[in-house]
Symmetry: C2
Subunit: 197 residues, 2 copies
């Protein structure tokens, strides 16, 4: 897990493996009632490096998924940016694979996240996670709109591809969707081109 949970200082770290990816430490304030966090605060986080371009088109969607232990969702890349985080006391193993054409294609980053982390994932980078706690509420902001008809235009890579080297727990028995089981191995993925992202 992350080494501490409460009262971190808001801070950001660039993820060297995947250009443009950012990992934020978020202050979580605990008291007799539970806790409170500013999960996203534009005025504080843009100066730290959260891209102002996230808001350029004025589009906004907030997604929430709720999942049981061992559920594994991903790995999905779409033509929009994501700011992802955990919204309860749960923990996930987050994993990201760069599917953009270029030198970082295929690069992987993985880390355990709880509510005290926020991850900025640039468009074209595949996103996924496995639930380590009994359940988890997983919340994210995106800056363009999903549509079922557009799914053929999104890029996916198979979570179980050993070439990725992701440290999933008991991946054979992970609870997944039929769609996620069918995604291609990294070597068969068509990269996101500049035109797509």
């Amino acid at each position: 897990t992350t080494d501490n949970f409460f009262e971190k200082t808001l801070a950001v770290r660039e993820i060297a493996e995947i250009p443009g990816m950012l990992e934020f430490d978020l202050p979580v304030h605990g008291d007799n009632r539970g806790w409170f966090k500013e999960n996203f605060q534009k005025e504080k986080m843009v100066p730290l490096g959260f891209p102002e371009s996230f808001f350029a088109e004025g589009k906004l969607q907030n997604n929430v998924s709720f999942s049981r232990k061992n559920v594994l969702r991903g790995l999905h890349a779409e033509p929009w940016d994501k700011y992802i985080s955990v919204a309860d006391n749960g923990r996930v193993l987050g994993a990201w694979v760069d599917l953009r054409e270029g030198a970082s294609f295929g690069h992987v980053y993985q880390t355990v996240i709880d509510a005290s982390k926020g991850i900025f994932v640039p468009r074209g980078v595949a996103n996924g996670f496995q639930v380590l706690s009994d359940f988890v509420s997983y919340s994210y902001l995106v800056n363009d709109y999903w549509a079922l008809e557009l799914k053929p235009k999104y890029a996916f890579v198979n979570y179980a591809d050993p070439a990725l080297g992701i440290d999933w727990e008991d991946v054979v028995n992970a609870e997944v969707s039929a769609a996620d089981e069918g995604h291609p191995l990294l070597e068969d993925v068509t990269a996101f081109t500049r035109e797509m992202v």
Copy 2:
């Protein structure tokens, strides 16, 4: 609880008691993994009546609080709009009190919400909730930035004021903050003026 949870049609209802307040039904999609919802989707919800003005100043904050059963937070009115929702399987009794000067001052709306509801609360309307489930993740979007120094400019009303007629459960033993215990009765509240909101 709300009468159904999964696969509602996205819809909106105006709250007659409090002008400008909106209650959305959100589609929640369940499967073998848990569930997924578009908690906020600007392109679909603005046409239904979610105010475009929410985005006028380009400010955005997303807050998450996590609370145990019987915790009661509120009632707080600030000079920003809120879009509130539950982000897990929990339930809360939500309550809102109009603190804007004018004919609807003191009007109350209360309803039980789970993840299949989204509530738009206009600035100047006090927001609060009590946790009915073992715990709850409560998430909201706001369009201006909180600061401790500005707290004297916010408006509060005491959750325990019987004049509000809110159906809290066992309000005497509710888990609250010291600050919330000290807020004025409705009759002593200074209304939000047009200049404040």
